[in-house]
């Protein structure tokens, strides 16, 4: 724990004020109006999408102004240049996840598309009626609905691991659920609502002991902590670019090569083929056979810049900084009477969902917004989890690498003012 309280990267201390200068949007005011001073933006909606550093914005502009052409097709100068830059991002992603090879990395539009790919390609080929997929009660809809579509199509079963009252995964129930018909466990590495970081190594080990494959939704985990897919022993790992300070429209599916190699294409078109004739078409090797059509080239370059950026700060240093914010915010918010934090597991990412007695989260959201504080309110694309905790919705503050303790103070002050307003 002492490591976490001392956020340092080598000898350089984590200088959050310096980091903030890398994000142009953080200097803006919100709700500025004639005769009314604006409020400094306190952006605590990072779980929905993170803001972008100058390096990402510049990398995308630079590509468009200097190096842009379609990839994988042309013999001309710019096409080669664009292809090299785009494919270099695959190497960056592989390194970021500590994947064995760039060929483990499939680009998708987002995490949702990665799960749809997994369900359609792997699930469609290797699952049959009566087989089961294990998910958890704390999944985002992205890791629920694709499996339901598959269930409706081929008759698989979906088993759901319960969540304990503190927001931890019920590991005893999980272990008991790993019966012979289960072929895949697909579970979030960190919950977007509860913040719970699930014990990925143990989840994978227990599944593998029964010959079951494991996929993780890293959409939240990959932005809050270092991820090593080999240490976890993940068979598949998914994350999205826009929560990692990169652009929208680009996500990643990591897969073990021998699994990807056996998976059929799921979308057809240009770029994913070797030869095409009207009688017979052959497909490229993995990962390219999963990337039909012109990809998100500009966004890919943006993702590469985002990975360079967070790597330069150090994921461990970011984690330590955010853990300090989480501890501080949890402490301050817990002191407010009538405020209930949903999700108090021992191992959490910097996400705090809460409700307040007699005040609906939607009203909390509108009031905090007027104080300049951006939080998410609602069901967070995790409706079953809301039901599990008996709440229709929550307010959620999710912290990022640029947030400060002073911003936590603004949040707390706004929550208190909100209580007084409706009191």
């Amino acid at each position: 724990m002492s490591d976490l309280l001392n956020p340092t990267l080598g000898n350089a201390p984590y200088d959050v004020m310096q980091v903030r200068q890398d994000f142009p949007i953080l200097t803006r005011l919100v709700h500025e109006k004639k005769g009314r001073a604006g409020k400094p933006l306190v952006y605590l909606d990072n779980g929905a999408s993170a803001q972008k550093p100058r390096a990402v914005i510049d990398a995308m502009s630079h590509l468009l102004e200097n190096d842009y052409a379609n990839v994988h097709r042309g013999v001309h100068f710019l096409s080669q240049r664009s292809t090299d830059l785009y494919e270099a991002v695959r190497d960056k992603v592989a390194k970021f996840l500590n994947a064995p090879s760039r060929e483990n990395i499939v680009f998708t539009r987002n995490a949702t598309e990665a799960f749809n790919l997994l369900a359609n390609s792997w699930g469609g080929r290797f699952l049959k009626e009566g087989d089961a997929v294990v998910i958890s009660w704390m999944e985002h809809h992205a890791n629920i609905v694709p499996w339901q579509l598959l269930r409706d199509r081929i008759g698989i079963n979906i088993k759901v691991v319960p969540v304990l009252d503190d927001g931890s995964l019920d590991m005893a129930a999980y272990e008991a659920m790993l019966t012979p018909e289960v072929k895949l466990v697909s579970i979030t590495h960190a919950s977007n609502v509860l913040g719970t970081v699930n014990p990925a190594v143990r989840i994978a080990r227990l599944a593998h002991a029964k010959g079951i494959l494991v996929a993780f939704d890293g959409s939240q985990a990959a932005v809050h902590q270092p991820v090593d897919v080999q240490a976890i022993d993940a068979d598949f790992y998914v994350f999205t670019g826009h929560k990692l300070y990169g652009p929208t429209g680009i996500g990643v599916l990591y897969g073990r090569k021998e699994l990807l190699d056996k998976m059929p294409p799921w979308q057809g078109g240009g770029d994913m083929i070797s030869t095409v004739s009207f009688e017979n078409t052959t497909y490229r090797e993995a990962p390219y056979r999963f990337e039909a059509g012109t990809p998100a080239i500009v966004e890919g370059i943006g993702l590469g810049a985002a990975i360079d950026y967070v790597t330069s700060l150090g994921m461990s240093a970011i984690q330590a900084h955010e853990q300090r914010l989480l501890a501080y915010a949890t402490h301050k918010l817990s002191e407010i009477e009538g405020l209930r934090i949903i999700g108090t597991a021992p191992d959490k990412a910097a996400i705090i969902s809460f409700t307040m007695d007699g005040i609906h989260p939607h009203d909390i959201g509108t009031l905090l917004d007027r104080g300049g504080v951006a939080v998410r309110v609602g069901r967070h694309c995790a409706e079953p989890l809301m039901d599990r905790f008996g709440v229709g919705a929550t307010a959620r503050a999710s912290f990022g690498l640029y947030n400060t303790e002073a911003e936590v103070d603004v949040l707390v002050e706004a929550v208190q003012a909100c209580k007084a307003f409706f009191g």
Partner: protein
């Protein structure tokens, strides 16, 4: 911190939000519908007793939601009791315009009960908060669905 939010959260709204009138499922009703706002998790049910002459003799609601949605539903139940179906539809049209359009763009909804329009005026502040318009209109859409024999409605329908 929130002075200019008093336009949105007027005292009447805070009062109805905290102490909703006609709340709860009644023992008897002859039309009902459920309304859902998937974005924020609001759920509402409207229970109508419509007489043979088409008059809304009684109406109740239950469900959960933000102060705006609860207050809007509560006010609606007060306003529509004793109104004909036609009057209810006209008031719905008026209210929908009030929440979504500038004053000079609002349509002509005929002669309306002034007591009703005066009461509804407290919700006109939502016009300045586009993200909150659906909170205010959910109860009315649900009432309209119940009136016309539809079982459910959702803010994700185009008509919102």
């Amino acid at each position: 911190m929130f002075d200019d939010l008093r336009d949105l959260y007027q005292e009447v709204i805070l009062d109805h939000g905290k102490n909703p009138r006609n709340f709860g499922r009644p023992a008897a009703f002859n039309r009902t519908a459920r309304g859902d706002n998937p974005m924020c998790g609001d759920k509402i049910a409207i229970y109508l007793t419509v007489g043979e002459d088409g008059t809304i003799q009684d109406l109740h609601f239950d469900g959960r939601g933000c102060a705006i949605s609860q207050a809007s539903a509560s006010l609606m139940t007060e306003i529509l009791r004793g109104k004909s179906m036609k009057e209810a539809e006209a008031l719905f049209g008026y209210f929908h315009d009030m929440c979504t359009k500038d004053e000079d763009e609002q349509g002509d909804h005929g002669t309306l009960d002034e007591d009703a329009t005066d009461k509804l005026a407290v919700l006109s502040g939502v016009r300045e908060f586009p993200m909150r318009v659906k909170c205010a209109t959910l109860a009315w859409h649900t009432m309209n669905a119940a009136l016309h024999g539809e079982a459910t409605t959702s803010t994700e329908n185009a008509s919102f």
